[in-house]
Amino acid sequence: MTIIEEKTLRVLVADDDPDILALLTMNLEGQGYLVESVTDGEEARDAALRMLPDLIVLDVMMPKMDGLEVLTILKNHEATKNIPVVMLTAKASDTDVWGGWQSGADYYITKPFDLDELLHFIGYLRVNGALID
């Protein structure tokens, strides 16, 4: 995998399950990314607006504000609308996945997800310049 930029990628991860959050953080840091983690939707929105990360990994079912609502807010906000968002969900019905794609997520993964799939997709985003500075 060719690294195009030198800059370290900053990733915001949001999931209300502390174990899943820890796993995501561990693996993303293992790839050399800088990770900030939050546990609910409101924190996710605030952190995204504050830090303007290069990538957001967002769980759909979270307390206070669910992932889809956060996604809609960020995609409609000038400062954050171009930040790629990967949605994670445990709901697997077709209507939910379709709803996720419709809402503007750049990628949609159902749990239990394949860590390799997630990391490869992030790598793909970098190589293809989708992760801008």
Binding site: D16, D19, A22, G30, A90, T110, K111, P112, L115
Partner: protein, 373 residues
Amino acid sequence: MDDALGVVAQEAGNLLCGSMTLACAPDADGGWRGAVADRSGARSAAPALVEAARAGLAAADAGTGPASLVPGAEVVTSRTDSAGGMPCVIAVWLEVKPWIASLTRTEVLDAFTTHAAITLANARIHEAAGAALRHERDLVRQKDDFVAMVSHELRTPLTAMLGSVATLRRFDDTMDPARRVQLLDMAARQGTRLTALIEDLLSVAAAESDLEPSQLALVDLCAFVSELAPELAEISGGRLALPTAAGEAVVRADSGKLRQIVTNLVDNAVKYAPTGPIEVVVQRDGDRRSLSVVDHGPGIAEEDRERVFDRFVQLDQSSTRHAGGTGLGLYLCQQLARLQHGSIALSSTPGGGSTFTVALPCHDTSRPKGITR
């Protein structure tokens, strides 16, 4: 059915050239409704008018008076339960005071009323079918919601378990030992959580379909609690307190299901009330016999008291997730109690602990009188 009544009233009025017509009939709950029709259309009848019609019909049935008790109406006919029809009363106020025999008009209206009775009966069946269909749709939607929730609840620990193993593989030798221990613990813990969830889900499914029919027998609650005490003491980590009950308390119950309920309630008390004794109390209150699990924890707020019995509701998300709570315990207890013709009630004050009381049908050995509720 209001529409049907309106149409009946209008048609009867047209038939007899009435200035005003009243049509009344009972609805599915037995309460009488009526419609009034005149030249300006049909509308709901005033309750007083409907009541007069109903009373008139009752009087005629009982033979205590004429059916024509609707004030001022020249022609009144009524039906009690006719073949295919339902009770109804039709009263017509005439524009032109009759100088021809009103008997003819009554006969005409009589024939009309027979058909009206059938029309109204059909309208009521139609209404009931609509309500049943809406109910079915609600149930289907609830089931879909439940399936979605179950899917989420099962996939979450599975994700953490598989993710932990995948991470261990990825990092392999490069992972530091402390982290390796953390991940192995995580996998084990999530596996246990998943097991508990699957067991609870199966228990709930079995209870809901009544797969294990209740073996109801006479159970002496005091003896039952004593036998269960060692297991409860272990669950509660030594915090169990058993106040002595006054007298005997015999109920009809399924001891296996009752055991599940009590152990579940004590387990909950341990999770939500970190300190203080957990009491299991047998109570007699007149005819009622019950068993209560009392804790001295933070208690449950009023707005949550109904919710706690719902599926997948956990009041303290963070700590119980780690303690392995599934959110199904209280719902399961409620189902198990229901299967024994009993019930569970909660009383609690914030700061003052909670008491879950299981009430079961009593069988008083001195005066056997069957199952009482």
